[in-house]
């Protein structure tokens, strides 16, 4: 047997696997263009659910709230998470290091119901009014850990001699970080920001615990609507979200690819001139 041959077994398992992953999403998108109010029976092509969605103030307010929370929390989480990654990879030994890395990894696998409940109890204990800021702070806390993991996996492969060269040439540590390290790890920081942004966009459980009256996010709105039954408006809304997120991911991956390409070009030039 030639083990490198692309066998039928592999083709079949890949096709079935990707069909399983994508068919539900494709069906959801197709039925958002359904004329009929019955979500599962095709009644002809129509875009009326998109129009009715845009006229639905409840959804629009929730979408605006979700977007604000996601942008603010992703930005702060990226800063904090990058700092945490630097501490984990470059920080060396310090007291509480094990505790620190434990607090970075634990939120990744912590059930959301526990994270949500515990943050709510803290907010109640300190008497903080629940609303936009409590949701945002909760989202920063769990997404900064994802950011830390993404950025630290880039930092381990970072060639530290570049930074040392900058320091030898008279750069101070802070400007060496901003002029050398940051531009090189930038693609992973962009990816981490996008991850934090979509995590926040997605979150139902933690937002439900930590929000107060007047602060409803899109997932909370979708959830309460879904509990009442299927609605073509939800399909339309889902389709819009899927398209936005897919575009973001594809752009991000192209960016990373381009920077990898550039890097290999520089390396070739360097080799040629050497």
């Amino acid at each position: 047997m030639n083990v490198n041959r692309f066998s039928w077994f592999n083709i079949t398992s890949l096709t079935l696997g990707f069909a399983f992953l994508y068919i539900p999403i494709l069906l959801l998108i197709v039925f958002s263009f359904n004329e009929s109010k019955l979500v599962t029976v095709w009644g002809g092509f129509s875009t009326k659910w998109y129009t009715s969605l845009l006229q639905n103030d409840g959804f629009m307010d929730a979408a605006w709230m979700t977007l604000k929370v996601a942008v603010v929390s992703a930005t702060i989480a990226t800063v904090l998470g990058t700092m945490a990654a630097l501490v984990m990879i470059r920080g060396g030994l310090f007291r509480g290091r094990t505790l620190f890395s434990g607090m970075i990894y634990a939120p990744l696998v912590m059930p959301e119901v526990i994270t949500g409940l515990s943050l709510l109890l803290l907010f109640v204990a300190v008497g903080w009014d629940r609303g936009f800021w409590t949701i945002t702070v909760a989202h920063i806390t769990f997404s900064m850990c994802y950011v830390a993991v993404v950025v630290s996996s880039r930092l381990v492969t970072f060639d530290q001699s570049l930074e040392e060269a900058a320091l030898d040439l008279g750069c101070n540590k802070v400007s060496a970080f901003f002029q050398i390290t940051l531009p090189i790890i930038a693609p992973s920081i962009v990816a981490a920001w996008l991850l934090a942004f979509t995590l926040s966009l997605d979150d139902l459980v933690i937002a439900s615990f930590t929000s107060g009256p007047g602060a409803t996010t899109l997932p909370m709105k979708i959830y309460s609507q879904v509990r009442l039954g299927l609605s073509p408006e939800i399909n339309a809304l889902s389709t819009i979200l899927i398209v936005i997120v897919s575009c973001g991911v594809i752009v991000a991956s192209l960016l990373t690819k381009r920077s990898a390409l550039k890097k290999s070009q520089y390396e070739q030039q360097a080799n040629a001139s050497a």
Partner: protein, 302 residues
């Protein structure tokens, strides 16, 4: 390095450290404290265990009166026991099926010509980026009694009665396997891609059967990937709320759902905190194992 305190470094460590201490560790303390309080019909609905204004006398009173009645209550009502056991069962079975389905996909990806692999990895990650809630919602339309799957099977003539899948445990299994499949495939793929396939050729040349080669060569070598994938599916599945709530029926018991109901429907904060504390105890061992593995992995790379 000199002995002078390096303020930049201290600040770099202190900011994320303090953030996590205050907003991740401290909240767990408040869950534990809450689980020892009594329920009250007030806002917020509980009687605090310890009021700092009463000083030392109050602290002494707290210690003498400390009661675990919420925990006793959990052992007396068999709803909680059954929720924990049924969560464990559902999480274990779905982890097994995710592995069973994820392995051939990861293997197929690892054997794809290298120029296609990056695209396949992105296709695996892409559904993970789309909203969890939306992906679960998509399955309601497929699985319900007058849903797409039943319509399709009736049209083909495979069945003449619609199958009842939605609001059963089967729907919960499908939902978990579907939602967590990327978490299983990615670590498996990372392990399978590094595998030295000449070892397989050697084993086959030496007369090993294909099945035996799989068990003797492939499985032991990709074991770290299998562990990582299983932890990443099992741990979050155990505390899952959205999937059992939307796809499962009223008889589907999962601890995340019980906690949510206790909190939002019964408004019993102390009991839901006690439920959370026990769930956390169940998760301590797998989470610590997972963390050890992550650290080792990070060290291995550097």
């Amino acid at each position: 390095m000199n002995k002078r305190i390096n303020w930049g470094r201290t600040l770099l460590i202190a900011i994320p450290f303090i953030w996590l201490l205050v907003l991740f560790l401290l909240p767990f303390m408040s869950v534990f404290k809450m689980s020892l309080s009594d329920m009250a019909t007030a806002r917020p609905p509980y009687v605090p265990v310890y009021d700092s204004e009463t000083g030392l006398a109050g602290l002494w009173q707290l210690i003498t009166e400390l009661d675990f009645e919420n925990y006793v209550w959990l052992t007396e009502d068999d709803l909680y026991w059954r929720s924990y056991l049924s969560s464990l069962k559902i999480a274990l079975i779905s982890t097994f099926f995710t592995l069973l389905i994820g392995f051939p996909i990861a293997y197929g990806m690892a054997k794809t010509p290298s120029q296609w692999r990056a695209t396949l990895v992105m296709l695996i990650i892409l559904p993970f980026w789309t909203s969890f809630l939306i992906r679960v919602y998509a399955w309601i339309g497929i699985l319900k009694q007058e849903g797409l799957l039943n319509n399709f099977l009736l049209y083909l003539g495979v069945i003449d009665q619609p199958l009842i899948i939605l609001n059963t445990d089967l729907a919960v299994y499908i939902g978990i396997v579907y939602s967590y499949l990327p978490f299983m495939v990615l670590p498996l793929y990372a392990a399978l891609e590094k595998l030295d396939y000449t070892l397989l050729e050697a084993a086959l040349d030496l007369g090993c059967s294909k099945i035996k080669t799989f068990w003797v060569i492939i499985v032991p070598l990709v074991m770290p990937g299998i562990y990582a994938g299983c932890f990443l599916v099992f741990i979050p599945a155990l505390g899952e709320f959205v999937i059992p709530d939307l796809l499962g029926g009223s008889s589907t018991l999962m601890i995340g759902k019980t906690l949510w109901g206790e909190f939002f429907n019964n408004r019993d904060w102390p009991v839901s905190s006690a439920v959370a504390v026990i769930l956390l105890l169940l998760l301590v061992v797998p989470i610590m194992l997972f963390q050890k593995m992550q650290e080792r992995e990070l060290k291995g790379q550097s």
